[in-house]
Symmetry: C2
Subunit: 202 residues, 2 copies
């Protein structure tokens, strides 16, 4: 039984509404980006008024940060539920495919964006940074396992691999392939995985 079950109906409704707001924010962030997204947009999309929105989240920054934290938690959950039979490299492949699928379904890339504004906003949030570090350490472990098993090259530094890996989740090539290349979502994922792990060379 989840914690929600112990709350009053009113509080349950409040929590549900909060999730609806986070969903709406996710859609707006994905379509317009942080700077163009207005609190009026979010309120309209979530079906409440702006002052009510501010009862749940005390600023635009906090709202966006909560969305990103939820995404990190989702990624951690996904990792925890992966088939234990997968090899380290396959786990990385599978997680990247999941992240790309989320994004193609209208979600967000889980490395947020290159906007200096958004980055500084997130790095000011202790909860975000702490979650990100947890995930980073977990993935670092998987990369190191993959190296030991010879699935990843021991020559390339682990952090280079990890940062490049994160970048693939927000790779703009995804959108170019969809818009100009007119590829189906699963083809995009297949090609992105190929480029990421095998590179461009023959």
């Amino acid at each position: 039984m989840g914690i929600v079950g112990r709350l009053s109906f009113k509080d349950q409704a409040f929590k549900l509404r909060e999730q609806a707001v986070l969903d709406a924010t996710t859609r707006m962030l994905a379509s317009k980006g942080y700077d163009l997204m207005t609190m009026d947009d979010v309120a309209a999309e979530a079906g409440l008024s702006k002052p009510s929105l501010y009862k749940h989240f005390k600023s635009k920054d906090e709202l966006a940060t909560e969305v990103m934290i939820r995404l990190l938690v989702d990624a951690q959950d996904y990792l925890a539920r992966q088939d234990p039979a997968l090899s380290p490299l396959d786990r990385l492949r599978d997680l990247l495919a999941w992240a790309l699928r989320v994004r193609l379904a209208g979600g967000l890339p889980f490395l947020p964006s290159t906007s200096p504004q958004v980055r500084s906003m997130l790095t000011r949030s202790l909860r975000y940074v702490s979650r990100a570090m947890q995930l980073h350490q977990k993935l670092k472990g998987i990369v190191e396992q993959a190296k030991q098993q010879g699935e990843l090259s021991a020559d390339m530094p682990t952090d280079v691999m990890l940062y490049s890996y994160y970048s693939r989740t927000c790779d703009p090539a995804v959108e170019y392939l969809r818009i100009y290349g007119r590829y189906a979502d699963e083809d995009i994922i297949r090609h992105m995985l190929a480029v990421s792990f095998k590179g461009l060379s023959a």
Copy 2:
């Protein structure tokens, strides 16, 4: 003799000032991004007043677009001056290294950003789109040459390769490597080239 040589001293000074404004804008875009960059920032950085700035460029959009066009022209120039002895794949490597070097020196990635705002701004500019298409066709030709010579895999679609290639010029991994990895610029370029062309797998 350049066109500038036929202008009056006054017009020459005007043109030079315009270039200084574009340089200042490039620096501001690189550091703050489009949304956070204000026209006051640019005016201060370039050493003139805001109204004077508007005598040169009639809007913030136009100013940023001109910066991006100049960057595309620079890339075309660089391509045109590459050593003709280079193989197609080496030309691609060399151009990417140049783009990353420009960015690390405080310039801009030549694929601008994933901001929907900036993208729509640029796609509304006929001059920008036309330049981008020219460069795209040129690079497409080089990729096809590389495929014919077996330097690039014939299996992967050309547009997948090209969009992924463009994405590397704005890859956020570059900044993570500099900030958290504390790598020197040339090491970053070396690693980025390795990841881009050889991929993450062993």
